[in-house]
């Protein structure tokens, strides 16, 4: 949780790769506090089994983004406490 908050001024995320999907740190233990910062743990078998169901926690992720005219990394868990709508779409410069 190093770069939590401070989203006022977008910074260039070119040098810092985003983590992608962030799994709960305690996969085996019951305690699910916080998220892991291990940047390269992104392809264990657990992740493949990940899926989204209503009534269950949304998988956390970090992605590079274009925001307010600049580039920044955006993490879903930064928006805890707010209602969030995530909208996937096939591609920029398409028609629908």
């Amino acid at each position: 949780m190093d770069n939590a908050k401070a989203k006022d001024k977008p910074k260039d995320g070119c040098v810092k790769p985003a983590k992608g999907i962030i799994k709960p740190s305690a996969v085996t233990a019951a305690a699910d506090t916080g998220v892991t910062d291990a940047a390269t743990s992104s392809s264990s078998p657990q992740e493949d089994a990940m899926s989204v169901k209503v009534g269950y926690p949304a998988p956390d992720f970090e992605a590079t983004a274009y925001v307010n005219g600049g580039f920044d990394n955006i993490k879903l868990s930064d928006y805890k406490g707010q209602w969030v709508m995530i909208c996937f779409y096939p591609g920029d410069f398409t028609f629908v």
Partner: protein
């Protein structure tokens, strides 16, 4: 908070925003446009089309605790209706605040239902979807 996600890079997002979207939306796009170039995020949300290599139209409403409250997924040719998403967010916010529930077709301002034994079999008395 709105987050949009596609497999395009953030650089393409910038070009699209500047060259097209800013001409369609007054003041430009007010929310972050995220990049999912590996499809990893779309895969976790069940909306990544492996054959086409894109994230299809999936929309998720996530509450302040990080719980998914609603999802809607469409194939690419048909666009979505933002008004319906807003209605759902308003309904979920109302539930979170009051514990009341919303019958089918409910819109903000219309009566809600308070579940309980007294209401069983009596919904027809208080909810008449035909009348607006």
């Amino acid at each position: 908070m709105v987050l949009s996600i596609s497999v395009d890079s953030r650089f393409v997002h910038k070009m699209w925003e500047e060259h097209e979207l800013a001409k369609m939306v007054e003041g430009g796009i007010p929310f972050p446009m995220l990049s999912d170039q590996s499809g990893e995020i779309g895969r976790a949300y069940g909306v990544y089309d492996e054959a086409a290599g894109v994230d299809i139209r999936g929309r998720f409403i996530i509450d302040p605790e990080g719980i998914v409250q609603a999802m809607e997924v469409l194939t690419p040719p048909v666009g979505r209706l933002l008004g319906e998403t807003i209605r759902q967010v308003q309904a979920f916010q109302h539930v979170a605040k009051t514990g009341e529930v919303m019958p089918a077709g409910w819109r903000p301002g219309q009566p809600t239902l308070t579940p309980g034994p007294e209401l069983t079999g009596k919904v027809w008395k208080v909810w008449k979807p035909g009348e607006e």
